[in-house]
């Protein structure tokens, strides 16, 4: 019987930036994102650990405030588009 996999917070802190950089989390023109297995080979970690680091880091990279900014961004962008597409400047936020 195996025990529940728990990622060591120290391992996470040590590798999270590098794992995110190599993954698809931030994409650049010159490099395709690596799979967890490829990242594991590069960093000398096992694949399960990399998967866990990546999954936690994907959620950890931005604070809760960024979610609030997302709401504001969408509300503003959507209203501005409606005003432009429908030719109704009155719909635009003041």
């Amino acid at each position: 019987m195996t025990s529940f996999f728990r990622l060591d917070p120290e391992v996470y802190a040590r590798h999270k930036d590098e794992v995110l950089r190599l993954s698809n989390s931030f994409q650049t023109i010159d490099a395709r994102g690596c799979s967890d297995r490829e990242i594991a080979e590069r960093l000398g970690l096992d694949e399960r650990t990399v998967t866990e680091i990546r999954v936690v880091a994907e959620r950890d990279v931005y604070p809760l405030d960024e979610w609030e900014r997302a709401i504001e961004f969408k509300r503003k962008a959507c209203t501005e588009w409606s005003a432009a597409a429908l030719k109704r400047p009155d719909l635009k936020e003041p």
Partner: protein
């Protein structure tokens, strides 16, 4: 294994269109090798895979695009309609042709990583090409939802799309005039957004994409949002303040979204809303 009947590809495509797909194409399974890492290729999911059937459709309507609340478009998401078409095709391939068929799950394999990139599948099946903003755009229909079936059937494959929908002519003019495009202007990476890129003649080149920030916008009230507020709540020692977080609008809306499942998964469309190639901008009354 039985021989594939003559005209099988044509029959399958007709079934897809009849079932509600707007477009259907077929990719060579081995074509993924040049683009996707091992573990995310058709043969990794279904050993012996030879082709990938891709259907697209269920795109938002004109009224959805001009709605004045971003929440309307997210709750009108119709991805399940095209997933139903994919499931039917998988069933048809096995029952009518006698070949293995694996419906590609629309969810994620781990974290934000998909089992197989549906966008790559659509591109390789000749149904569209990657836009500067990211989504695959079909020349006729623009932005669409995708579903795919991996199969061992040796169906006839389609060539990639020759001329991309992005950049649209008006975007090229805007680039010449202002050095930006509608999608780059609405969500710029260097000003707290997700996208960076440029136009090189008739070619769109995306230079950067912040998938993690995009996730906060596309999945604001989804798994990520739930986890963030849950963490904040667990860290909050004051009982009354905890209640404000748990009963508040963010958490409530998030729980509605999660429990209504995929009808509410996609929650940000702003780069596509402003895209002239994404939804035609046909004049409506």
């Amino acid at each position: 294994m039985s021989e594939l009947p003559t005209g099988a590809t044509k029959t399958l495509k007709a079934s897809a269109l009849k079932a509600g797909a707007s477009v259907v194409g077929i990719a060579d399974a081995s074509a993924f090798d040049a683009h996707a890492p091992k573990g995310h290729r058709p043969d990794d999911l279904l050993p012996g895979a030879r082709t990938v059937v891709v259907v697209g459709g269920a795109q938002p309507r004109a009224g959805d695009w001009v709605a004045t609340s971003p929440w309307l478009l997210s709750t009108m998401g119709t991805t399940e309609r095209i997933q139903g078409v994919g499931r039917r095709l998988a069933q048809a391939i096995e029952s009518e042709f006698g070949y293995y068929a694996l419906f590609v799950p629309p969810g994620t394999a781990s974290g934000d990583a998909p089992f197989l990139s549906l966008m790559l599948a659509a591109e390789l099946a000749g149904l569209g090409s990657r836009s500067l903003a990211g989504p695959i755009l079909n020349r006729e229909h623009g932005f669409m939802y995708w579903s795919a079936v991996i199969t061992t059937a040796p169906l006839q494959v389609d060539p990639p799309e020759a001329v991309p929908a992005c950049p649209a002519p008006s975007c090229r003019e805007m680039w010449e005039r202002e050095g930006t495009t509608p999608c780059l202007r609405v969500c710029p990476l260097d000003a707290g957004g997700c996208l960076s890129g440029r136009l090189e003649g008739a070619r769109a080149v995306r230079t950067g994409y912040d998938a993690a920030r995009c996730n906060t916008r596309v999945h604001t009230h989804w798994v990520g949002g739930f986890q963030k507020v849950l963490e904040e709540t667990l860290n909050e020692p004051d009982r009354d303040k905890r209640k404000m977080l748990v009963y508040g609008d963010f958490m409530t809306r998030t729980l509605w979204a999660i429990t209504y499942s995929s009808t509410n998964i996609a929650q940000c469309f702003e780069c596509m809303r402003v895209c002239p190639a994404a939804h035609g901008l046909r004049e409506m009354r």
